[in-house]
């Protein structure tokens, strides 16, 4: 399952890999919130999108996450892009700022529709890419530790924070194993004549069943054995445990915090500026009219 390799943690010694997972999660969410600020003027949105993409590329460069594998794994998004285009074309834009692109009967389709769809898709891609940078630079174990840390306030009300974190980390640990297993079962079933790629909806449904049932059985068996292995090694979810891995806030985290914090502040400034005096920045600075 090569399309799943992107976003899977891989060990590298980079600045981003070495950040504290708690910090990384927080900063990623902060940046995502920033990305979702809506601007009045298309030119501002365009410029900000450019800035976001530059930042994203920089983050990918620093974390040595490959751009090619990102593009490959985003390939499946084109359906969504077409879907959004259709929606935005047929839903009339209120107070359009751009000229009419074409008309269908009495419906005037403004360039705004395309901008809006493109803007949404761009933000979606940014979100997915950021999440993938997070998951491919953070050990699943660290991620669940961070999760547990954020949920600590819930411990006194007996919310099973540790149990959830442990379940999560085991689930993450077993994803690749189960993917391999899926592939193996598909091959085995294909050799028995099950066709996963052709046929009508019923035939395909049958093929999926032929995949799901053995997968489910094997997952149950695995979980039983895994539980036994954990008990044998002295695991008790309610007992006190020490930790092999400790999350540590270092100077890197301060730098990262200041960097993303600064970007977020910049976005806010732009946002307020854009609301108060919606001027066309492109026209204002570059004297190019009509965008």
């Amino acid at each position: 399952m090569s399309s799943m390799t992107f976003g899977r943690y891989s060990f590298r010694n980079t600045f981003i890999h070495n950040l504290d997972a708690r910090n990384k999660i927080f900063l990623m969410l902060l940046f995502m919130v920033g990305i979702f600020f809506q601007f009045n003027m298309w030119s501002t949105a365009l410029i900000m999108s450019g800035v976001y993409i530059v930042i994203l590329l920089a983050l990918m460069l620093i974390s040595r996450v490959s751009l090619w594998s990102l593009i490959k794994s985003l390939g499946g998004l084109w359906m969504l892009v077409i879907f959004l285009m259709i929606i935005y074309i047929f839903v009339p834009t209120n107070n359009p700022k751009l000229p009419v692109a074409f008309t269908i009967g009495s419906l005037e389709v403004h360039w705004d529709a395309f901008c809006q769809a493109g803007y949404i898709v761009m933000r979606l891609i940014l979100m997915i890419s950021l999440t993938m940078i997070l998951t491919s630079t953070t050990k699943p174990m660290d991620m669940t530790y961070a999760f547990e840390w954020y949920m600590t306030p819930l411990k006194p009300i007996r919310f099973p924070v540790h149990e959830i974190a442990m379940t999560l980390s085991i689930a993450l640990r077993f994803i690749p194993t189960l993917l391999d297993e899926t592939e193996r079962i598909m091959k085995a079933q294909a050799s028995r004549g099950v066709d996963f790629n052709h046929g009508g909806i019923f035939k395909r449904f049958g093929a999926i069943i032929a995949l799901i049932i053995p997968l489910f059985v094997s997952a149950l068996e695995r979980s039983e054995e895994l539980a036994n292995a954990m008990i044998v090694r002295g695991y008790d979810p309610r007992a006190k445990r020490t930790r092999y891995r400790l999350l540590r806030f270092s100077w890197r985290d301060i730098i990262a915090f200041l960097f993303i914090g600064g970007i977020f502040a910049g976005i806010i400034v732009m946002f307020v500026f854009d609301r108060k005096n919606p001027i066309d920045i492109v026209e204002f600075f570059f004297h190019v009219k009509g965008f």
Partner: protein
């Protein structure tokens, strides 16, 4: 004094079919015991009963001459360890080092000494260079060696291997076996109970137990038990390779009572 003594042990999953039926045997400290028996004879169940994963229905278990009851069950559990057959299903941590440390975390081992301990045990199974690797990037043999390190780091007194090499390719089998051999040699106190299908491996152990349909049908030195081909056939087991060759040789007039291939080769040379 025995390390482990089992008296009239029985167990059933459903309350009627006895999967373990009135089994008694003892295991001496520091010995290597092989448990043989075809599929479904109750070997895994026996292992789970010894480490306390299952509750016995009847009989007694003595550990260091102390009977195990509900009260001291924890003592037994902390001093026994079990390695399972499937390398994937006992890899708990997300990386090699996390997995080796898992047991230490459960025992509240101090954080500042963990790293050194993990490295030491990774080294003892020849996996020190792979600490940061994820299970998906390891071979079955490597995963089983990590399982060994994760078990041994808790300093068990009894280590049970439940067909620990049966899912491995020949290379994986031999690397894991070498590690087990070395651990046994270096660790005179450690008692190892190995459940296996490999009769040649059993020949090298101090004692052999043969299970059939939940009953203990044979117990004794491998040299005594594993020569009896008809008795072995009755429980669907094969004779060790060396003994098979000896039997064939006898038919052409070469007599040998060798226990190893090397010895056998010498005997053949001498008969020329």
């Amino acid at each position: 004094m025995s390390k482990l003594e089992i008296k009239n042990l029985s167990f059933s999953y459903d309350g009627s079919n006895k999967v373990i039926d009135d089994i008694s045997f003892s295991v001496e400290k520091g010995t290597f015991v092989s448990v043989l028996g075809h599929n479904g004879s109750g070997k895994s169940t026996l292992a789970k009963l010894i480490v306390g994963l299952l509750d016995k229905a009847g009989g007694q278990i003595f550990f260091n001459d102390v009977e195990i009851t509900e009260k001291n069950l924890k003592d037994l559990q902390t001093k026994t360890s079990l390695i399972f057959q499937n390398p994937d299903n006992q890899f708990i941590g997300s990386t090699v080092e996390d997995d080796i440390a898992f047991g230490l975390e459960n025992r509240c081992f101090p954080h500042d000494q963990m790293q050194a301990e993990v490295e030491r045990f990774a080294d003892s199974v020849n996996m020190l260079d792979h600490l940061k690797k994820e299970p998906i990037n390891l071979s079955g043999g490597q995963k089983q060696r990590i399982a060994l390190a994760g078990a041994l780091i808790l300093r068990p007194e009894i280590l049970i291997l439940d067909e620990a090499t049966s899912m491995l390719d020949p290379k994986g089998k031999s690397t894991v076996r070498k590690v087990i051999d070395r651990i046994h040699k270096e660790n005179k106190e450690l008692t190892i109970i190995s459940i296996t299908h490999d009769i040649d491996e059993a020949l090298l152990s101090d004692k052999v137990l043969i299970l059939n349909k939940g009953k203990l049908v044979k117990e004794g030195k491998p040299q005594d038990i594993l020569r009896d081909e008809s008795a072995l056939l009755e429980v669907k087991l094969d004779m060790p390779f060396v003994y098979k060759i000896e039997k064939e040789l006898k038919e052409i007039g070469i007599n040998s009572n060798a226990e190893t291939i090397d010895q056998l080769v010498e005997d053949i040379w001498a008969s020329k």
